[in-house]
Amino acid sequence: MGIKTFQQAISEALALEMERDERVIVMGEDIVGGSGADGEMDAWGGPLGVTKGLWGKFGDRVLDTPITESAFIGAAIGAATTGLRPVVELMFIDFMGVCFDQIFNQAAKFRYMFGGKAETPVVIRTMFGAGLRAAAQHSQCLYPLFTHIPGLKVVVPSTPYDAKGLLIEAIRDNDPVIFCEHKLLYTQEGEVPDEAYTIPFGEAAVVREGEDLTIVTLGRMVHRAVEAAEALAGSGIDCEIVDLRTTSPMDEDAILESVENTGRLVVVDEANPRCNIATDISALVAQSAFDALKAPIRMVTAPHSPVPFSDALEDLYIPTAASIEAAARELAEYRS
């Protein structure tokens, strides 16, 4: 046990599972760094150093790849159906566009399309989210796209503890898992046990209990929701916060139960607003907990635009604690 960063939690999960199971391999662009070059090996450990040190421990089971995401993510998928349990890194989730076919037409469909006769235990780790001034092609959320696809499991952890437990669960799962890491969470700290443990998919975490209003959210937005809830508590508005942790499968019960208690729902999603997780949850509640609702549902999301580069604009683009707070206040005061 001890205080560890989100990044350490992930690295630990990978190392533990590689030790436990020889079939686990890790691959991706520069996840070692230095391959073929004259200087040091393990020079990078990924662009943010998340996988640094694995190569020293596991050698050939940690593989740098050429910049050919279709080939190497497809290879991870093919290897998963033929005896390995690869964890492959798609450096930025934004790059899914060059390899999406292998993910959604191949990995996602094998089990069903082959009549249950194939297993595809592959984990695709990927970095997402805005806030690093990385502009339109390196800042997207995009997990709604994966969530739309049957056959994929989609994980979006918000804490170091969850990251470790969910990643180990993902590696042991026999379906393809898209594991989405918010790039601004890597330095987030929290208590993380040293040993291996798992967190089941489809179980949301109620990170704050409350009576007046439910905030359902995920990823980095969990922290902004907590901030908002603290401010709201000052005005006597008691928020419950549900952290989805996985968007597919999704813990419908936890969401419905909370809304049945509070009667008010704010959904916070950093993704673009159309066909995203906020609409998904809003729809679920409007269909299945309608009678409990005392007010309209409010969605707080990024706007329908690419992510702007300028810090001034990007800060306006990302949902803030203040915008969550405002939405919640509006609902709390709502009288039909």
């Binding site: 790849t65 093919g78 037409n105 089990r111």
Partner: protein, 322 residues
């Protein structure tokens, strides 16, 4: 590479099974009872057979939309395949896949594929698994002339070479991608020429000639097993039917296929050479022919009589939550 009698008979049985299977599906399709898109492999049998005769269940192949021949050559159950094509519950994929998605992982058949260029990356994965596990297995990816242009194919050639994977890429160049000639779609003389850009051997063979395919594939597979890395083999061949069933084929010269059927048919030529070399007897072949005829008849009858999947099957084999 010397072929013994058993292998020769296996080769004949495989090629002929594919041919009779495909000819029959062609006939059945016209009755309107076979659903969906069906792409027939007739004419190209020597390729799947010549390659797969070197493989056993632990070796892997990944295939294309034109996958029946690869499935049969890799040992998939023919009755299960026919039932699958009819969308029936006892089908190899429980009726959920159909012609374009037949797979049997237990036979090392990783799946036909509805996505052109879908297989090569997967084959790299099977090669990587073999290499990592050190089990001496190989993986073969089939791709058409059209599919060979896809970016996925080029990326896979590079990756297989960079990692020195035990992979063989077999380009089935049948001259067309749908209605488009390879002469239009492909900026190179032989597709095998591209191999040199990926530091691997690239070899052109006559895809109608079982013996040539068998020999070249055998060398490539042996090299791969021995850690010598990947090979690209281009097989020049013709398809006997349209791109898919229902294709009027007006883009072809009128006598194009007939010429090949008469003079270069892979099965006729194999039989003639094998018999004249004394490797097999006419009688052996005739008896195999009877087996196959019974098998396919039986497969069709079983398929037609078999139940379709039902409501309770709709949501099995997938994680469901909504």
């Amino acid at each position: 590479m010397q072929l013994n009698k058993d292998d020769a008979l296996r080769a004949y049985r495989t090629m002929k099974t594919i041919r009779v299977f495909e000819d029959r599906v062609h006939v059945e399709f016209e009755t309107g009872e076979v659903p969906g898109f069906v792409h027939l492999y007739a004419g190209e049998e020597a390729i799947a057979t010549g390659v797969c005769l070197h493989l056993d269940d632990g070796d892997r192949i990944a295939s294309t939309h034109r996958g029946h021949g690869h499935c049969i050559a890799k040992g998939c159950d023919v009755r299960g395949m026919m039932a699958e094509i009819y969308g029936r519950k006892p089908g190899l994929c429980a009726g959920k896949g159909g012609s374009m998605h037949i797979a049997d992982l237990t036979k090392g058949m990783m799946g036909a594929n509805g996505i052109v260029g879908g297989a090569p990356p997967l084959v790299c994965g099977a090669g990587l698994a073999a290499k990592t596990l050190g089990n001496g297995r190989v993986a073969v990816g089939f791709v058409g002339d059209g599919g060979s242009n896809q970016g996925t194919t080029h990326e896979s050639l590079n990756l297989a070479s960079v990692w020195q994977l035990p992979c063989i890429f077999v380009v089935e160049n049948n001259g067309y991608a749908e209605a488009t000639s390879v002469k239009y779609s492909t900026a190179c003389d032989d597709l095998a020429d591209r191999a040199s850009g990926f530091n691997m051997p690239g070899i052109v063979v006559d895809g109608h000639d079982f013996f040539e395919v068998y020999e070249v594939a055998g060398e490539a597979i042996d090299r791969a097993r021995a850690g010598g890395g990947p090979t690209l083999i281009e097989c020049k061949v013709n398809r006997y039917y349209g791109h898919f069933e229902g294709d009027a084929q007006t883009y072809r010269a009128p006598d194009e296929v007939e010429n090949v059927r008469q003079n270069r048919d892979c099965i006729d030529n194999f039989a003639a050479r094998a018999v004249s070399a004394g490797l097999v007897q006419e009688d052996d072949l005739a008896s195999i022919d009877r087996d196959i005829s019974d098998l396919i008849e039986d497969a069709v009858n079983l398929a037609k009589a078999a139940p379709k999947p039902e409501a309770e099957d709709l949501l099995t084999d997938v994680y469901v939550s909504y």
